[in-house]
């Protein structure tokens, strides 16, 4: 591949929440800033910009990763999922509904990242339990909830998935 010059913009194209998107980026632009600044997709939040807080977590090819530790240019041709892709047609996803039932968010700053991490766990984990939920959550900082309600919400969704019966929102 040729060398891409620092000061120049280069076109990238990738799949964002199932739709093909494209835009221009300098090599140094972070994926988090590309999503928010170039595409206006502000669901993913930016807290620390060095990988610690987890607010910017998105899924790339199914894996939860930090968008602040990924260059936008690396995403060319890949599949990205963000919190905006969770809800379909005005209906929240089961995980989002469980977060609401259990008060698993207060200010909501950390929530988009946590939802993306837990969605990886729920999609890939055959045995989801409090221990591995807490392991996934160790990659996120939440300054409001104390994590207990987040764990309860995730456990409930996993039980729903296993039994095939949705819990009522009332």
């Amino acid at each position: 591949m040729p060398r891409l010059n620092a000061g120049q913009r280069h076109t990238i194209q990738f799949e964002l929440n199932g739709k093909s998107v494209s835009g221009e980026t300098e090599p140094r632009l972070l994926l988090s800033d590309f999503l928010r600044g170039v595409l206006g997709s502000t669901g993913s939040h930016v807290g620390c910009e060095h990988g610690v807080c987890g607010a910017c977590t998105v899924r790339v090819n199914g894996c939860a990763v930090r968008s602040c530790l990924t260059l936008a240019i690396q995403i060319n041709g890949e599949k990205v999922e963000t919190v905006e892709g969770l809800a379909g047609n005005d209906t929240l996803s089961p995980l989002q509904r469980a977060f609401r039932r259990h008060h698993a968010l207060q200010c909501g700053f950390c929530t988009p990242g946590i939802l993306m991490s837990l969605s990886e766990l729920l999609d890939t984990g055959t045995d989801v339990n409090e221990k591995n939920i807490r392991e996934f959550l160790s990659g996120h900082l939440c300054r409001c909830t104390g994590y207990g309600n987040i764990v309860r919400a995730a456990l409930e969704v996993f039980a729903e998935n296993r039994s095939g019966r949705a819990v009522s929102d009332d």
């Binding site: 620092a6 300098e26 090599p27 140094r28 800033d33 987890g54 930090r66 990924t70 260059l71 160790s138």
Partner: protein, 275 residues
Amino acid sequence: MKPPVFDYAFADHLDEVAEFLADEGGEARVLAGGQSLIAMLNMRLVQPTLVVDISRLPDHDFITLKEGVVEIGCTVTQSALQFWPGLAESLPLLKRALPWVGHRQTRNKGTVCGSIAHADPSAELPLCLAALNGKAVLYSSRGERVLAAHELQVGTLETACAPDEMIRALRFPTAETGAGYGFGEVAYRHGDFAIVAVAVVATSECLRIALGGVGEKPEVCEWPLLEDKFLDDALNDLAWKLGTNEDQHATAYYRRSLIRSLGRRVVGEALACLG
């Protein structure tokens, strides 16, 4: 907290990487998982003129087991190794250590070779490489050379890998039959870098104990299999010899007490699995 400007190239072939590194005269950086490099760029701790992305380098996403050695290519992520089906049997020490390396979200991108190249003194994977006396395969336009852990690891964030070289793969010797392995660490938060990390290999003849977080690089020492009553003294001597560094995370006193208590527990864990 935004990266400085740099040129970017993503390599399709090992020789392309080697060429970029050689031509840039030490000002280029290899980008693997980016979990340390991009953080350092964001903080402007490094300002390379060129970043050579090897994360999608073809043919290097391999974990192979051959003649008592597990070889791991430079694009293999920490998560991929953690879920490699042969891990528990072939590399029981890494099986124990990998859950401590950052978080799932950083292991999904961070590579095994990248962690060795980054050489953080409290990182778990360099500690395991030292404890098992593994090797790194270095590649450059000058050719290939293989360095043992103690030759590779020279200091804090420093290895013997020259600016025009990259780590192409790592070689870990597989578990010895009947040997016992233990790993433990203390950090402020699960997934943070260790204040002290301990890796132990116990065989019928000796105990090999490796400490991370106490010096500029992993420290390894080997003892004959000690009677239980001598173990505390040996760990105490080790604590006074190595537990001298003091920083914002911990006092030297605290590090010494961790070497004694955590060391004791991890040696116990390794001895318990001794077959």
